[in-house]
């Protein structure tokens, strides 16, 4: 078989496998969007297609997207999610960027111990922390009178604490790829150490910072376990909130699917807006230049 033909067949095979995986990934998403347009009855009886009206037209239940805001307090959950995830992203990025830069550039006593400890925290499954943190929150409030459980800042604190170590490790790699000579040149040009960071290192690490920030936002957006335990009815996030569509007296899977679709939208928009940075960020440092 000629070389070009063999290469072409291999290319087609690879594409076929990729498409199969893509279908596997997208199928549930498609199912979610499709189900969000069905009636509650159709879902309950397990009808695959849409039900037909008397005239034989397919009935698309667009009003699910209206009802979802009324059935449960979805607006509140959306606001809570935006506040909690946004604040988590902000605090995690500020602290991890500074720490990552320091670890990649400065030698100080305990630097190795510090970075290894950071790595070690990632080895313990998050669920192991759940009960200790819950008890800590309750005891802290008992002892000081300051409410923690059920507040914004309580869950933001926990999320930030979880994401900072991971972010430090990722961002440290980004800072390490910035040539030292750039910073030396800046020092000679008149920069103080902080100015070197601010004017040179930080702008050059932006793709990495954006990629890491989005990862944090997405992961926090999807997080259910801690949010369920540590928030209350005023501060609950979308993953916690949309469970309420399924209750004792009614199962509104149609509205839940609509809410899930709406909850996915900000993430999709964010991703497409910053896609360029994410791809660049994920590959930066792989090749020079």
């Amino acid at each position: 078989m000629p070389y070009y033909l063999r290469k072409r067949i291999i290319d087609i095979l690879i594409s076929a496998v990729m498409l199969a995986f893509l279908a596997l990934t997208l199928l549930p998403v498609g199912w979610m969007v499709f189900s969000s347009l069905k009636s509650s009855t159709d879902i309950a009886i397990g009808r695959v297609g849409l039900s037909r009206s008397v005239e034989g037209r397919a009935e698309v239940h667009w009003n699910n997207y209206v009802d979802m805001w009324k059935n449960v307090n979805f607006g509140l959950y959306l606001k809570n999610s935006l506040i909690i995830c946004g604040a988590t992203m902000f605090f995690a990025m500020v602290f991890s960027t500074l720490a990552a830069y320091a670890l990649s550039r400065f030698r100080f006593p305990g630097a190795d111990l510090f970075s290894n400890t950071i790595l070690a925290t990632q080895m313990i499954p998050a669920i192991m922390y759940l009960i200790p943190i819950y008890i800590m929150f309750v005891k802290f409030t008992l002892m000081t009178g300051i409410p923690v459980k059920g507040t914004y800042w309580g869950i933001i604190l926990i999320y930030s604490a979880f994401f900072i170590p991971f972010s430090i490790w990722i961002l440290r790699g980004f800072f390490a790829t910035i040539p030292r000579e750039l910073e030396e040149s800046a020092r000679i040009d008149g920069c103080s150490p902080f100015q070197v960071f601010w004017y040179i290192a930080l702008p050059l690490a932006v793709p990495g910072i954006i990629a890491t920030g989005i990862y944090i936002f997405l992961t926090a957006w999807d997080e259910l376990m801690f949010a369920w335990v540590l928030t209350n009815s005023d501060t609950m996030t979308i993953p916690v909130g949309i469970r309420l569509f399924v209750g004792n007296y009614q199962n509104r899977f149609d509205l839940m699917m609509a809410a899930a679709t709406v909850a996915t939208l900000p993430v999709v928009v964010l991703f497409f807006l910053l896609q360029k940075h994410i791809v660049h960020g994920l590959t930066a440092g792989a090749v020079k230049g």
Binding site: E184, D189, G190
Partner: protein
Amino acid sequence: MARVLLKNVTKMFDDVAAVKDVNLAIKDKEFVVLVGPSGCGKTTTLRMIAGLEEISRGEIYIGDRLVNEVPPKDRNIAMVFQSYALYPHMKVYDNMAFGLKLRGESKKEIDTRVREAAEILGLTVYLDRLPKQLSGGQRQRVALGRAIVRHPQVFLMDEPLSNLDAKLRVQMRAQLQRIHKQLEATIVYVTHDQVEAMTLGQKVAVILNGELQQVDAPLTVYERPTNRFVAGFLGSPPMNFFKGQVRKKEGKYFFECEGFKFEVPADVAGQLASYVDREVSFGIRPEDIWDIPSSGWIDQKFLIETRVEFRELMGSETFVYVKAGPLALTGRVGAMADPQPGSKFGLVFNLRKIHFFDPETQKAII
């Protein structure tokens, strides 16, 4: 502009001395080239002047100020890096203006200086491009421009031309000399390229193994190397060295080795007096070994019969690698001479240009 003074400067990396006890006085407005093979400590020396490397021992003065404890930004120096180190996220204009902005110069002053430097370097049309949109030569000039706009006391250059192609390098050498004259700048320039050292420097400082070997005008370093290291480092192909004995017969001095024996010219022979019947190292550069037809003008010569091993035809000249008995040597002969490999070939030493070195101390005798 200012002078630079290095007093007993030493740099230790753990237990290894990268720079040993360097004493160097660079005058105001002088162009000094630090030259040596890679890893010899020349870049470390430059980085210590810049303040990027701590000094283990010794003192460095810029102007009349001791700068050991002064951070780089307060030394009033500018540095051009081998990799150019342009800020990739800033346009050419901002790259050049960055240092001035940090120093709080007025917008108008910055603009004047950046445009003036761009004019000198022919960069005016590239001012709003990003570094990645420039060619290697253009980037190099931006790096130079960034140094010029600062009007520093001292320019430090770390192999600034080594990433350019051969033709561009020749152009930039000329441009550097012009800039030096135009700005009346003190320049410390590091290179491993001896052509750059010879052509650019008013003074050449040869560094080997972290030690300063010789500081002199380029031609002096070339023609009167203080020791065997310097003699062997400068010149391409390198100087030929032969081990042999000094003999004295009837008031005349001879150099004798396994392959040949010749009489040392009387005007320099006296310096060999204390080496009679002792071993010495004899050195002669390839360009002081001639083919017979073009050697007519030489008044003190020694003819040696050799066998050609191989040759390199350079067009303007020919390097011939020959054997004289057991000894291998290199000569540079005219392009007209046509040494055939395997054939016999007569070569002439110009005895006005010979060197002798003490084999123990490696110091030059003649």
